[in-house]
Amino acid sequence: MSRLRRFLHTPEAVAGAILLAVLFAMALSASLLFPGDPQAIAGPALLPPFQDWSLPLGTDRLGRDVLAELFHGARTSLAVGLAAAAAALVIGAVVGTLAGFAGGLVDEVLMRIADAFQTVPGFLLALAFVSVVGPSLGVVVAAIALGTWTGPARIARAEVLSIRERDYVAGARVIGMHPLEIAFREVLPNALPPVLAMSSVIVAAAILTEAALSFLGLGDPNRVTWGGMIAEGRTVLRTAPFLSIVPGIALVLTVLGVYLAGEGIVETTAVRRGLS
């Protein structure tokens, strides 16, 4: 309870939480408020914002409702961002735990693989992966996770290296527990806090990567994405700049919200740990 109170007393955290709440509300209400295909033509092309109240943010080059696209785009951004970050955290935690706990050759091999992944910039890796496999929501998620898991893996490994020397790990061996059970049931849960502390940065980065991929035309073509909207608007940037500005602002606010709320959570739990 006091953790929640401390969170609510941090203005940045509250601002982040509100931004995220709005984003989630948009994502969840998208098909309720804007049923049907958001990519269908809804009115005249290039209608500016605040002209027609049935199309409050106007229309794009093909006459599609910008507000509907914005709501449906929130869905894609959130879904891809959260799924990719979750995949990266899970892969990273598992690989880092195995490497740190097993040591020796297993550690060597896993960490060389992580090195290999880290030498290629995450975005290039995602770009190459999607270009080869083809754009779909699942592939985009996998592509982003592929470039992100090494960070969590290294942090998990470092934590596991210190935890595996503790008496309770020796105690688990003494009672005859299987090494894999020791690794994943005794060690991994205690190695998680510093890994989870990275999640806000990872989610924010995943959302930006998804937008960048979509901007380059490598997003799922059947879904509205903010990156895709920005790219669309770019062709008419001089005459209708709002088409790029609106999804751009949405993107910035989302990343800011994720980051502030995430930092707020880390901050309040860290304070709590420091006190106890």
Binding site: R166, D167, Y168, A170, G171, A172, R173, V174, I175, G176, M177, H178, E186, P189, N190
Partner: protein, 258 residues
């Protein structure tokens, strides 16, 4: 035949390049139901011997025979199965348990791992174990960090006896406890030994405690055996320099009479 026969056990650690013998050519035996104490100054190799005997670390040389078979030859499943018979109690009972664990989970683990009781029967077994070590049954759902140090060490003993071992290694198991709690835990250990013929490898730097609970004692110095024999004889009239120094440092030797 001895329950445990350790011969020529050696373990070297590298310190700043050159190897240092933490345990140097140590041999001893433990009979069923016997308490053998390992005493010696800090850094004399007591914990290293405990870890070697439990196969938590591997020796550089030597043999360990446990219950008539070569304990060092066991691997994988066979080793894990045999561990049921050879248990340990650590010095710091807080560090010895997963910080997220509850009392029930700590006691459930050995029962589950060794298939000692089916899931539905385990709560009853856990209750019996708690009772056996003098704890209230309603402690089971509590988190390990919520109970007192003395209670925690009783839980550690309950966990150690859950698989019906023939030997328990106790590495400074009472050293971190208050004097009054220490006496109660020692009483509990002696009672377990009397009724179930469990042997103890009892590690302590406190000769008063050793004299009260051990049948035989080995005094270690820098990884080697300096002196060994009947616990009272050795402690009442030590022959080695280490023995004399340890006795001189012990405050009052007949504090415990369990």
């Amino acid at each position: 035949m001895s329950l445990l026969a350790v011969s020529n056990l050696t373990k070297n650690y590298r310190r700043t390049g050159k190897p240092v013998a933490a345990v140097d050519d140590v041999s001893f035996t433990i009979e069923p139901g016997e308490t053998l104490a390992l005493a010696g100054p800090s850094g004399s190799g007591k914990s290293t011997i405990a870890r070697l005997v439990l196969r938590l670390i591997e020796p550089d040389a030597g043999r360990i025979e446990f219950e008539g078979s070569d304990f060092l030859a066991l691997r994988g499943v066979a080793l894990r199965a045999r561990r049921a018979r050879l248990q340990m109690v650590f010095q710091d009972p807080l560090a010895a348990f997963n910080p997220r664990a509850t009392v029930a989970r700590v006691l459930d683990d050995p029962l589950r791992v060794h298939g000692i009781a089916p899931r539905t029967e385990r709560p009853r077994r856990i209750a019996a174990l708690l009772e056996r070590v003098g704890l209230a049954v309603d402690l089971a759902p509590r988190a390990i960090h919520e109970i007192s140090g003395g209670q925690r060490q009783r839980v550690a003993i309950a966990r150690a006896i859950a698989t019906k071992p023939s030997l328990i290694v106790l590495d400074e198991a009472v050293s971190a406890l208050d004097v009054s709690v220490r006496g109660q835990i020692l009483d509990l250990l002696l009672d377990l030994q009397r009724r179930e013929r469990i042997a103890f490898l009892f590690i302590s730097h406190d000769l008063g405690v050793v004299r009260a609970v051990a049948h035989r004692v080995i005094l270690l110095d820098a990884g080697r055996i300096a002196e060994s024999g009947d616990a009272r004889t050795v402690i009442d009239l030590p022959q080695s320099a280490v023995g004399k120094a340890l006795v001189a440092a012990a405050p009052r030797l007949n504090r415990y009479r369990p």
